[in-house]
Amino acid sequence: AQRVTQPEKLLSVFKGAPVELKCNYSYSGSPELFWYVQYSRQRLQLLLRHISRESIKGFTADLNKGETSFHLKKPFAQEEDSAMYYCALSPSTGRRALTFGSGTRLQVQP
């Protein structure tokens, strides 16, 4: 069975500090990994996916297959980064239903 673990419910940092939101997964095959963000009262929005290897809003995430991790990082947090962040996994084939982690709330304080 596939599982996504986000160990931190809340991460509070000061503006300008580095941020790392942890995500670990378990899956027997080759997964696709995603980070979704949910700003206050807004929809789930795709932030990153591992296959595109891009940086969005200064965030990056590297898939580490050895450690089965896909941590989200940003070198300098901004107040507008405050949101709920969800790590998600889907099989790389088939209908690709997403399995979500429980989410981490990021609070960036001024």
Binding site: E32, R43, L46, I51, R95, R96, A97, L98, S102
Partner: protein
């Protein structure tokens, strides 16, 4: 940018009643999904739909649930005989047909069962 739209934003229903949640996926998308999030819990997969049939469903998606794409644009989730524990946020999502395309989510419908 095209969006997935869901109606209503909030639905209040008496226990035992039927409810239909509506979604309009992005127009050229081929795969459709329903997820739910009970307050304080994680987002959980319910069902996926492709080529006018259910392609995958979770253990949550039992006989009280059904999905339909009645007219080529709407994608509906019906819950028969609702229970208190059906109270949750229900999200619709869609994605394009090419491999690796991400799912795009709607704003969700908050379902409250009294």
């Amino acid at each position: 940018e095209p969006e997935v739209t869901q109606t209503p934003s909030h639905q209040v229903t008496q226990m035992g009643q039927e409810v239909i949640l509506r979604c309009v996926p992005i127009s050229n998308h081929l795969y459709f999904y329903w997820y739910r999030q009970i307050l304080g819990q994680k987002v959980e997969f319910l069902v996926s739909f492709y080529n006018n049939e259910i392609s995958e469903k979770s253990e949550i998606f039992d006989d009280q649930f059904s999905v339909e794409r009645p007219d080529g644009s709407n994608f509906t989730l019906k819950i028969r005989s609702t229970k208190l524990e059906d109270s949750a946020m229900y999200f619709c999502a869609s994605r394009g047909g090419q491999g690796g395309q991400p799912q795009h989510f709607g704003d969700g419908t908050r379902l409250s069962i009294l």
